[in-house]
Amino acid sequence: MGVIDLDAFAHEVGVDDPVAVAGLCTRGGGPAGVRTVAAPSGILWVQPDEMIVCCGAGTPVDELVDALAEHGQTVALPAGGTVGGALSVGHSDHRRLGYGPVRDVLLQARYVSATGDVVKAGGPTVKNVSGFDLCRLLVGARGTLGFLGEVILRTRPLPPSSQWMSAPATDPDTVFTRLHRPVSVLWNGTTVWALLEGHPFDVAEQADAAGLAACAGPPPLPQGSRRSVPPAAVVDQRGEFVTEVGVGIVHHAEPWSAPPRSARVLELTRAVKAEFDPTGRLNPGIDV
């Protein structure tokens, strides 16, 4: 089991000049033209009977997923990048319906603050309401409030079986409402796909009840934009898209600009940033 030297990471982040943090850069890494640091990586420990794991934020998610699989567990983070990147971007993958959002995964974080201090947020247990929920604020903050160094994450058991199913469908809700806690339901306007997990007999019976047949896997997700809409608006999509039914994420071929956030939300956001990084030295230029 590794050792994570947070003091060294804090030293690297420093105390006054602009600095960026990058993971595997699958989401572009930090802002360009700024001195860039990388978070420590490595798995510190896995505690399968507590369903938690502790690792450096620089650890690749794929490496973590492999290590957890040896214990029959996994973690609800999108593949491909680093743990810190996945948390800081805060986008769940297509299994959010069943596995929950990325923000529910982070239990404790040790991060380096704008003043170069190592700060702890949250706690090491699955249930914890000791103080304000700073972890929730760090997830999705794109490294603008602090650089994640070491994290404790909630794991989940791997299912006994897992199968993608599909059927033609002009209305995804008829399939969606017949399934009990599917892991994912995707729809592109003409076909519905569902990822069902659990006991193989249950998976088969659920598929029958909803008129689904086994298929190879999910459709490719269009890459033009990832839109966040009310789940009820999923059926109103036009063009080339795949939506996450019951969640409200739309993967669309066309670019999109999100509706503006309210002025008061933006003001609150700026107030948070001003409290955590008054000089704007962390990931400068990234506007959350």
């Binding site: 505690q47 399968p48 009977d49 507590e50 369903m51 567990q73 805060g90 986008h91 769940s92 929950g100 959002p101 923000r103 201090d117 700060v119 702890k120 947020a121 706690g123 090491p124 247990t125 699955v126 249930k127 914890n128 309401v129 000791s130 103080g131 304000f132 929920d133 700073l134 929730r136 604020l137 997830v139 999705g140 989940r156 009990h180 806690r181 659990g198 006991h199 249950d202 019976e205 659920q206 966040s228 809409v229 009310p230 789940p231 009820a232 019951g246 969640v247 409200g248 999100a258 956030r261 008061r264 939300v265 609150l268 956001t269 107030a271 948070v272 001003a274 409290e275 955590f276 959350v288």
Partner: protein, 473 residues
């Protein structure tokens, strides 16, 4: 000053929903904890506009304000300090809209937890967080305390079931945090608000996530000759890759009290009983039941009772849910603690809890969410006994310290409030606390929203310096 504030509120709300007479104020001196304060005025708004008016009036008079739901909090969160204005949500109890297909509902903050579930039962849905107080606590209180319950083991606590919240901030502005859109760019301000114990603003509407009822449910009761064996069974079930819907434990004194109260045929001679509930689709459920009835006896379970019908299931749960009522028959007062420890530390920490109670000559009973290591040691006493309160508090502090020293946390669901405020330095360094204070300032720069809770004052920080070094984790 109080009169001027009250007069302004009477105009903005209505005279009958603004109270200042001392008898009525007395009812709002504290929540369900023993920590008393004093309110100068209590008001009962009906709308977000009235909440705004109340907050603005408090700000104009420089008076702190405290949101109050049902007052069942156990950490002094709703206790008004310094003659605060109490803004009670008890008259804001409507379900505003329900989307049965996408399983969400907008509700007002004063709605009682169980009333929400009742409202959507016919749709095959429920609100997953189920505190033992669910008949009487409000959704607004659940949000502010990020409350949990027996069934949060599999489904997560309140934070996972709140999609959005409309908030009146301390400057009187109204803002919606989160919403129906799942992952809007920007900071998760909704997530930051959940668990803020009334110190970030007042929730005036909540968008809750509703959960599908399980098609099949099985409830089992196992008894053990030792508390350790019960705790080891809990760990073994989780280690086997199962996450039951609920895993609750009661120790002998508690079982005896409950049995005397409800006559459910509970094993009163066992050192501990474990209530295990699994829920889901039938085949997976049967497979889990089969494994659990093997794991239990392999770890020392004497008998395994499986509820044969809904009536028996309800009876077993009644035992768990009426524990507090049953205990009230033994001694008139109880002090309910709430800490979390890693599951594998349950046997060790429970041993310490018994030793601590012994040392302070108190009766302790344990009824708790074993599945997530969430201890609820219940100290029972008669407060008329001279000197007993000092012993109760000293024992409580020892339990909190033992839990944190075992790698646990201060609170699993009741929150920090006033009760555990000065213990925060056991878990957090000054820099960690400063970050939490920064969050608060961003939401409430005026500091008028429920002040003096959660974050220790600098003086209290100094107080914790006598913590033995071994207590730090």
């Amino acid at each position: 000053m109080t009169e001027a504030l009250a007069a302004e509120l009477r105009l903005a709300l209505s005279p009958d929903r603004v109270r200042t007479n001392s008898t009525e104020l007395g009812l709002y001196r504290r929540d369900a904890s023993n920590i008393e304060g004093s309110a100068s005025v209590v008001c009962f708004p009906l709308t977000v506009a009235e909440v705004q008016a109340a907050v603005l009036a408090a700000a104009r008079h420089g008076v702190p304000f405290v949101a109050r739901g049902a007052g069942t909090g156990l950490a002094g969160g709703a206790t008004p300090l310094d003659g605060a204005l109490v803004i009670a949500t008890t008259k804001m109890q409507r379900v505003l809209s329900v989307d049965a297909v996408h399983r969400m509902a907008w509700v007002e903050p004063g709605l009682l937890n169980l009333d929400l579930t009742r409202e959507v039962t016919a749709l095959g849905l429920h609100f997953a967080p189920d505190p033992s107080s669910q008949q009487s606590c409000s959704i607004g209180g659940n949000v502010a305390n990020n409350s949990g319950g027996p069934h949060c083991l599999a489904d997560g606590v309140t934070a996972s079931h709140v999609l959005g919240v409309e908030v009146v901030l301390s400057d009187g502005s109204v803002v919606q945090l989160g919403g129906e859109e799942p992952e809007v760019e920007g900071l998760d301000l909704r997530g930051a608000f959940v668990g803020s114990e009334g110190m970030f603003g007042i929730a005036t509407k909540v968008l809750v996530r509703l959960t599908q009822n399980a098609p099949t449910v099985r409830t089992m009761l196992m008894d053990f000759a030792s508390v350790e064996a019960g705790a080891q069974t809990v760990s073994a079930i989780i280690a086997a890759g199962m996450v039951p819907a609920a895993l609750e434990m009661m120790d002998q004194l508690c079982v005896q009290a409950v049995e005397e109260y409800i006559h459910a045929g509970l094993p009163v001679h066992a050192a501990a009983v474990l209530l295990v509930e699994v829920a889901g689709l039938p085949h997976g459920l049967e497979a889990d039941v089969a494994r659990i009835v093997e794991i239990g006896p392999a770890h020392g379970a004497g008998t395994v009772r499986i509820a044969q019908d809904e009536a028996e299931r309800a009876l077993l749960w009644k035992g768990r849910k009426t524990a507090f009522g049953a205990i009230a028959r033994i001694k008139p007062n109880y002090y309910l603690h709430d800490t979390v420890v890693p599951r594998r530390m349950l046997p060790e920490v429970l041993r310490q809890v018994y030793a601590i109670a012994d040392r302070y000559q108190l009766l302790v009973m344990n009824v708790f969410h074993a599945g997530d290591g969430n201890l609820h040691p219940l100290l029972v006493f008669d407060k008329r006994e001279p000197g007993v309160m000092e012993r109760v508090h000293a024992a409580g502090e020892a339990i909190v310290r033992a839990s944190v020293a075992a790698g646990g946390v201060l609170s699993g669901e009741h929150g920090i409030g006033l009760e555990k405020r000065d213990f925060m330095p056991l878990m957090f360094e000054p820099a960690d606390l400063a970050a939490q204070a920064a969050m608060r300032r961003a939401f409430d720069p005026s500091g008028l929203a429920n002040p003096f809770k959660v974050l220790p004052s600098p003086a209290a920080c100094g107080d914790a310096q006598h913590v033995p070094p071994g207590a730090w984790v």
